[in-house]
Subunit: 230 residues, 2 copies
């Protein structure tokens, strides 16, 4: 049975890495000892080792071992045999490029569809959608494709943020950007605010955390919802 | 002689479309009657006709005729014969995809290198750089390449915005995103704030407006400058 935990962000304001999710992680990874960490999104350009060390420290608090996927000679095989997988945030273009270059899209998808628990945060959540096209990231590298894992039948915009009514900035709001996406793509989008996460168990999809999500579909006005249902 | 006017934004807070640039436009387009407008970036998904009408209205005030490139049967030929060219803002991924699909990258570049005055705002400014990889836009469509016109030997980040020290948002700042770009690309980046524009006359490059630009190069810390010089 498909089992996903998709977080908007790894850290909320005032917290430390994954601290706001600790209870949820204990629940989600129950019975799991070792989690394979995919560090390819490299936030702020940190190395795979540095990034894995950050995740390692957070998961040590709940008694889980984290091992970086980059340390294995055969990462596809590693994903196939993983007890659980966690993809960290950073730059989605870089993450997706790495997954394609190492031919890991299909093995990762198959592992999760075969029941391997998958957690993502930010970029790691973005790639669970149909495409990476609702990322907020800068296109620092050219990926072979924008298609991603399609573990859920919609796209996710992590770090969703409401327009600031006092802003003098003229750049597009997040809502405007997502509406532009919908002009060209028939894929619903979940605007997932920081502090929110999605749990998927088989066909059941739940929004968690205290906030609503902003839902964008091709033919209706955006709306707020405590549910994710299309 | 190469002649460019590259604006961060078409509109500043409290103004109307291009109003803050009116004196500069009169100067830049002196002796020009007709400007070919490239509407392909379609801000908020408006049509090519709607977008051209907005530009038409703004330029009518200074006695210039605007004609949309989309109305010509042979747009490459139109660019080759243009008196002047203006590319409006919107979504850079869409703009670049359209230019490639219609095989207009080379004709546009050649026209400008042959002396046709080129104005860009926002996405239209972004494509004057070496690549479009410092755009802020959402990847709503997959372009054949991220390489753009290379009319200047650097990349531009339009709508550059400083980190908000009071923000609780955990998404990356603009500065962090540009630094991530520099980890993978040896191309300097000009962070061009709203209200700023760049004028290029042959080999001379000037920053205009009252604000400094934020300059990012691969091997130095970002810095503020009234000049653009690498």
């Amino acid at each position: 049975m498909k089992k996903l935990l998709l977080a908007s962000t790894s850290t909320v304001y005032g917290g430390t890495y994954l601290s706001y999710l600790q209870d949820e992680l204990i629940n989600f990874f129950e019975g799991i000892n070792q989690i394979i960490f995919i560090p390819y999104a490299r936030p702020s350009g940190i190395s795979h080792d540095e990034y894995t060390a950050i995740a390692h420290k957070a998961f040590k608090k709940i008694g889980k071992e984290i091992i970086g996927l980059h340390t294995f000679a055969n990462p596809a095989e590693t994903l196939r045999n993983a007890q659980a997988i966690f993809t960290g945030g950073g730059n989605t273009f870089l993450l997706v490029t790495q997954l394609y270059q190492q031919q890991l899209i299909a093995p990762l998808r198959e592992a999760v569809l075969n029941g391997c628990p998958y957690m993502g945060s930010s970029a790691g959540t973005n790639i669970a959608g149909v495409t990476m096209q609702t990322t907020n990231d800068m296109p620092i590298i050219y990926p072979p494709s924008f298609n991603t894992l399609g573990l859920v039948p919609f796209n996710i915009n992590p770090h969703y943020i409401d327009p600031d009514p006092h802003s003098k900035h003229q750049g597009e709001t997040r809502e405007t950007r997502i509406k532009e996406f919908l002009n060209f793509n028939n894929i619903p989008v979940v605007g997932l605010r920081e502090g929110s996460w999605i749990r998927v168990e088989g066909e059941s999809i739940s929004l968690k955390g205290e906030l609503t999500a902003r839902i964008f579909t091709p033919n209706t006005a955006p709306y707020e919802s405590h549910e994710i249902k299309f």
